[in-house]
């Protein structure tokens, strides 16, 4: 079973994604902040990381940069509720499989995951 990690500080959104991905047959690891993900990154078996850009503490983009810096090449799918050109560019520069604007249709997410998993 493919495992997906979701980092999202909005509990409602996190719950929704969990249900959606579970319904699609994924195993879902939920994190409410970048920090909590980093704490357990070593044990993480996730094949793909779905992360919100605007997190309370370390942002999603910073998390990706840190992962890259520490030599991890987790495929990352960015989500954001605030779409602007600067953020999008930043996300692409940091490296990502997909950049999704909330709200997004499930098949966009699933297709992105399917590309990497």
């Amino acid at each position: 079973m493919r495992t997906i990690a979701v980092v999202e500080d909005d509990p409602s959104m996190l719950q929704g994604l969990f249900r959606l991905l579970s319904a699609h047959g994924f195993r879902v690891l939920r994190f409410s902040s970048a920090e909590s993900f980093i704490d357990s990154v070593d044990q993480c078996e996730a094949a793909c990381l779905v992360v919100d850009i605007h997190l309370g503490g370390i942002s999603g983009i910073d998390l990706k940069r840190r992962l890259t810096y520490s030599g991890s090449d987790f495929p990352v799918i960015f989500m954001t509720a605030v779409d602007n050109e600067a953020t999008r560019q930043e996300a692409i520069d940091a490296g990502c499989v997909a950049y999704l604007r909330k709200p997004f249709l499930a098949n966009l997410l699933i297709e992105a995951i399917d590309r990497v998993v």
Partner: protein, 619 residues
Amino acid sequence: MVSRVFLSVVVLFLAMTGEAFSEPKRVLLLHSFGRDFAPWSEYARTFREELNRQSSDPIDLYEASLATARFPDEEEGPFVEYLRALFTKHRLDLVVAIGSPAVGFVQRHRQELFPSTPAVYTGVEQRRVSYAALTTNDAVIAINNDFAAVVENILQVLPETTDIIVVIGNSPIERFWAEQLRIAFRPFEKRVTFTWFNELSFEEMLKRAATLPRRSAIFFALLSVDAAGVPHEAGKALDRLYAIADVPIFSESSVFFGRGIVGGPLNSISALSREAASVSVRVLAGETPGDIKTAPIGFSAPKYDWRELQRWEISEDRLPAGSDVDFRVPGIWEQYRSQVTVGLAVLLLQAVAISWLLFERSRRRIAEEEASNRRREVVRLNRVVTANVLSSSIAHELNQPLGAILSNTEAAQIMLKSNPPDLAQIGEILGDIVRDEQRASEIIVGLRNLLNNRTAADLQHFDLNETVQEVVRIVTPEAARRKILLSADCTSDALPVRSDPIHLQQVIINLAMNGMDAMEDCKEGPRKLEIQTQQNAESGMAEVAVSDSGKGIPDQDLTSVFDAFFTTKPHGTGLGLPIARTIIQTYGGTIWAENRNNSATFCFKLPLVNPESESIGRV
């Protein structure tokens, strides 16, 4: 007292000198009917005045009345005796007879009474003087009454007149004049009907005069003795007639002018008496009376009583050229011209002032309305700008629940396809969807409030603490985005205020955004924004303080930050704080800035209100 003594001395001295240099001239004034019988009384009065005025010698005046004119049957003998007794010792210098009965008497008894005394006959119509019987010792100053002119005058001023009633008595002299009048009136008989009252008693005359038809006129000729043999003073008779008759009254005698007659050509008493006095003085000075010839004095220029003209609606256009109009009652305008002018001017000025004030008032109201509209629009634009600044935060807030809803919905769709579907799970999902949907709605409502124009109808009573909480909800995402620690420290006391909650929300958002902007460049230390509320029960105010942890405001700028276009931000409008101040002042509050611990704090206070009380403000 002194002056009176002095006056007496002067009078005495004058009397003595008069006595010493010239004997007083003894003059007998002989009246026809009596001293006070009009119209002769008037001749006599003016003659006395004129004589005294014109004579340089003192005049010793005796007066006597011919009773026989009043009582025709009376014997003249006793009166002749009386006069003879009176004037045998005192030689007379002049006899003046007034009126034709007196003239006739003097002429008849001249030889026995005053054979050598000069005589002046006046107050008499020329037709009553027997010129043939005059001696060289007699002078006549007569009048000439043109009775036709009297009727012509009536028909001139009242052309519609059909009846003329002639009031005249029945004494011998009146009978004579009645005859003269008939002759003079004959040419008019085709045009008007003449009614003669000479055979009536005066009471009878009054009775008939009271019921005269319209278009009648009374000619008051003379009334000395009526047909019943009752003597009348003509002036008083005219007064009674005037009081009872409802038709215009005419007379040729100037004596009656002003006593109710309309007027017209009148014989002139003043001219007659002046002339008679002048002749008398000449005679007293030694001139031979027979040598002094004077032409009979005719009517003077027509004269009318304005009051009667008004009463009978006689237009002044109808009056003959050169007429005088006396007794004009000045209208309000003539009488109070200056007062009326001033009054009207004051009224006019007042009216102008009032209209101007009304005009100014409406202009002011329009201007106020316009200013109010502008202010409202600026305030709204400020909210739009604020909303714009907050838009990414708001979008984030809105997209979060929308994203959750979409994910949940699609998860549920998949679950429904499984067999059997996990209905408990789906129910949970639907519950979450409802909750997220509400969350999104709230944000949209809040945003709409922020962007909408506000009206006075949006005034509400509410707790200021709620507004602060609302602002915290709106600004939190933005603070989070900027990594600013936002905290609210609200008092547990209620802060009831009355205003448009959106306006206060706007003020607090403005202050919060300003605070966050102020900390933009602060690298060191935690960035904190704190909103505090408290109740000041003593002053009855609710206070809100928004404090940041920035560098503070230079002391000299603490006031000017509220001025329009004062801004330190590259993209600021410089309108946020002035607008905040406008709003706060509108609701009766004050707003100020201060530095606390080297950082800026913006405070405002608003009056606490009893929810029942009313205080209206408009933005």
